[in-house]
């Protein structure tokens, strides 16, 4: 379960995958920045803070995790957890205690990295009183204590085994921050890391122009092999067209997550560029308020799910660059428990009408859609949904709102809405179904229990089958209108090597990148 706090509002991982237009302007890049050892990468959105442990904007993790900040471990492209600041770790058989052996290295400001920093970082992250709060407070829910064994050894005790724990410690917000320099400033929402980030990674902070660009330079003292790039500039370009054009014009060298997939054909035909079609990530869905009015009736929810033509959405919203999903899981390495539930509630307007009639809405039904106008996918999806629901006799009232409004009316209490289109990009978030107060208001005690049990289950096969049962139940209940998982698509200059080929959205590791 993920908690969102008012203090970290204008954020959210959901921003990540799709060209979100909120928050700030953008800028182009220096022409001819394709120098041998400098790279300019285009991002849709800049971070609101440079403190990776206080900002849940997905872009900050992608830009800074593994490049500037490091964690004890990281996920490689195949989803395998590999050592980073930890050289290795031991687990007790009950899975409740982890002992991390730490690398001997220095912070970018020259002070040594020790176990104290780890304890400081994680104790701080799991403290709900801390401000600014870690956006993923729930990652540390299973943790009972973090103890320093010696300068280079740290022991973490869990209340019970958690399958997700290590995976989550590889995420951005679990990065280790320096205790010595981390002085909380008087500003309640920012630390000194927010403007002067210090990490242990291959690149260190240089300059940050809000809404324009963030520049990192090589950290010569890094523990790993010397990065070939001298400088990385992340440039923020909100609009998909402007971004594509900047790449074509040579202003940038790569687009991290293409905003407008419909423009891919123009890159495909051009030998100067390579399209990196990554794994599907995120769950784009029509979320249902399971506790409201007609939507309490499973037949109505099923009817809406059946009215949705996933193929039309995949083509119309993501130009085909997405895979259909039938439940709350995506077919990629981060969610190995994925099962295909696309057979449930298949597109069938006739059956949808029957279900509605059975539920007593033969003469029609009016539902409200909370549409986030900041997200192109939500706007396009809203138009499609409107047309599809009209075909089965449901009238859609579209209420457009900003993402900020959405957070405060739909996601956070009062959670007053019927339907909303949203893309959940956080991996392994199926646990949200265990929380009946989550904005879907899905309340199924068996599912809730099974989700919690699955995370504590050490047996892989058993765990997998538990998750499969949950997925099946969610599909059968039509808990939400699951539609598709959009693919991670990066477009890069053809002579750029060492760029993560099939990256997960969690980080963009550039220590190995270079121009040929």
């Amino acid at each position: 379960m993920r908690l969102l706090r008012a203090a970290t509002l204008p954020i959210l991982l959901i921003l990540a995958l799709t060209g979100c237009q909120s928050g700030g302007g953008n800028a182009g890049a220096s022409p001819g920045a394709t120098g041998k050892d400098k790279i300019v990468v285009g991002f849709v959105q800049g971070p609101t803070s440079l403190d990776i442990t206080s900002d849940a904007t997905a872009s900050i993790a992608t830009m800074l995790r593994d490049n500037l900040y490091e964690g004890l471990l990281r996920t490689d492209a195949s989803g395998v957890l590999i050592p980073q600041l930890a050289t290795g770790w031991d687990t007790t058989p009950d899975g409740k205690t982890y002992t991390f052996h730490l690398r001997s290295t220095n912070w970018q400001d020259g002070t040594p990295f020790t176990a104290q920093d780890v304890k400081f970082s994680w104790d701080r992250a799991r403290d709900p009183q801390n401000k600014p709060a870690n956006p993923h407070l729930d990652y540390w829910a299973p943790v009972s204590s973090v103890d320093v064994v010696d300068d280079h050894t740290v022991k973490v005790s869990l209340k019970q085994y958690s399958d997700n724990f290590l995976f989550r410690m590889a995420q951005g917000s679990a990065a280790i921050i320096p205790k010595s320099t981390h002085v909380v400033s008087t500003n309640p929402v920012a630390t000194n890391l927010a403007t002067q980030p210090v990490g242990t990674g291959p690149f260190k902070f240089s300059t940050y122009l809000p809404n324009t660009s963030l520049t990192l330079v090589r950290n010569a003292a890094w523990w790993g092999p010397k990065p070939r790039l001298q400088q990385i500039t992340f440039r923020f370009i909100t609009d998909a067209n402007a971004m594509n054009n900047a790449l074509k014009a040579g202003d940038i060298d790569a687009i991290a997550q293409l905003g407008g997939p419909e423009q891919l054909p123009s890159f495909k035909s051009d030998n100067n560029f390579r399209i990196l079609e990554g794994a599907p990530a995120g769950k784009l869905m029509v979320a249902y308020n399971n506790s409201k009015g007609a939507l309490k009736d499973v037949r109505v929810r099923k009817a809406i799910s059946m009215a949705i033509d996933k193929k039309a959405w995949i083509d119309g919203v993501f130009a085909g660059y997405a895979v259909p999903i039938g439940s709350h899981a995506v077919p990629n390495v981060t969610e190995p428990y994925y099962v295909d539930e696309n057979q449930v509630n298949k597109y069938d307007p006739t059956e949808a009408k029957k279900q509605l009639a059975a539920a007593g809405y033969a003469s029609g039904l009016t539902l409200h859609l909370a549409e986030v106008s900041d997200f192109p996918y939500a706007v396009r999806g809203g138009d499609i949904l409107n047309s599809e629901l009209k075909a089965v006799g449901v009238t859609l009232q579209i209420d457009t709102m900003t993402f900020n409004d959405w957070l405060h009316t739909v996601f956070l209490p009062p959670q007053d809405y019927d339907l909303t289109i949203i893309n959940h990009v956080e991996p392994r978030d199926i646990g949200n179904y265990a929380n009946p107060k989550y904005y879907w208001h899905y309340d199924n005690p068996q599912v809730a229990q099974m989700v919690l049990q699955a995370d504590a289950e050490q047996d892989q096969a058993k765990r997998k089958s538990m998750y499969a049962t949950v997925q099946k139940q969610l599909a059968d209940d039509a808990a939400n209108g699951y539609i598709m998982s959009p693919k991670q698509i990066d477009v890069i200059r053809a002579n750029l090597r060492g760029y993560p080929e099939k990256r997960l959205s969690t980080s963009l590791y550039l220590a190995k990148a270079y121009f040929s």
Partner: protein, 313 residues
């Protein structure tokens, strides 16, 4: 003396405008915290934000603080980014101001010759053609003109960027290139409006008795228009120019969003979308102040041009 009294009126207008902006944002709908957080945020959230914004204090005090801050150059802190607004404002102005100036320059460069030609030859085909074109130009929304220019020069020909901005520090040439299409889109439409006004001013002026007098002295039509007509024609045009600058400013707000330029217009739109009321308050007042200052400048130049007004109070 008159200038001083005009200046006093300007300052008074600025005060009133600032009150109006503050009132709309802070007083009219009730609670800015509720506005920022959405219509149905929890009381706890609203109370938190109230404290953060200092809303528990009386409105007049907050108004004075805001105004005092503005005078000292303190524009406050953005609710969303938590960054001080002024530096951002300055950076954005480096995009918007050149954009507006280029567009105005372009509009004048197009409209002065065309307007004069159309005015002098208003009975001939060329004059009518210019007139018809400008009538069409008035009807074209600048943002559509921008889209068409993007289609032609960026999408089809790939010669100019479709948007985004190269900062001046990185490459002045790149920055200019980024501003070229938006300036053209904005300038052409404004130019069409101006052409029309210049044309009618020139036509009107040509019928004036003093032009006939000038010709009776032995000046040719062209000489009479140049020596006696243009300065007179400039008087109504300058008035329009003031209004045009204002609409150009507003047009720039829209066009920046067409070309994704990180200017004041984009900042304003983002602030509106994010309900960053502090930023909105600052930006709207800034733009309104610009409008008022432009009006003031128009008034002054009008006086400079027309001795009749200069003399009478």
């Amino acid at each position: 003396m008159q200038v001083l009294s005009r200046l006093a009126v300007l300052l008074l207008s600025l005060m009133v405008a600032s009150m109006a902006v503050f009132a709309v944002v802070n007083v009219l709908p009730g609670d800015p915290a509720a506005v920022i957080l959405g219509t149905s945020a929890s009381p706890q959230q609203i109370a938190d934000l109230h404290r953060q914004l200092g809303l528990d204090r009386p409105a007049w005090l907050r108004y004075l603080e805001w105004l005092g801050g503005l005078i000292r150059g303190d524009f406050g802190v953005s609710l969303i980014s938590k960054q001080p607004i002024l530096p951002e404002l300055q950076g954005r102005a480096l995009v918007s101001v050149p954009l507006a100036l280029f567009a105005m320059f372009l509009a004048l460069a197009v409209s002065i010759p065309l307007g004069i030609v159309a005015g002098v030859r208003y009975r001939s085909l060329s004059g009518s053609l210019i007139s018809a074109l400008s009538l069409g130009g008035i009807a074209i929304p600048a943002f559509w003109a921008g889209l068409l220019l993007v289609t032609i020069f960026a999408v089809q020909l790939h010669v100019l960027p479709a948007g985004s901005f190269v900062p001046w520090e990185e490459s002045p040439v790149g920055a200019l290139r980024s501003l070229l299409l938006p300036s053209i889109a904005l300038g052409l439409v404004q130019g069409a409006v101006l052409t029309r006004y210049i044309r009618s001013a020139v036509i009107e002026v040509q019928r004036e008795d003093y032009i006939r007098t000038a010709r009776s002295k032995g000046l040719t039509r062209g000489q009479a228009l140049r020596r006696h007509g243009l300065k007179n024609a400039a008087i109504p045009v300058v008035t329009i120019l003031g209004l045009q600058l204002t609409s150009l400013l507003v047009g720039a707000v829209v066009i920046e969003n067409v070309f994704y330029l990180p200017g004041l217009g984009r900042m304003l739109l983002d602030a509106v979308r994010n309900r960053d009321l502090i930023e909105i308050q600052d930006l709207i007042l800034l733009l309104t102040a610009t409008v008022l200052v432009i009006n003031f400048a128009t008034d002054l130049s009008y006086r400079l041009l027309d001795p009749r007004i200069r003399a009478s109070r």
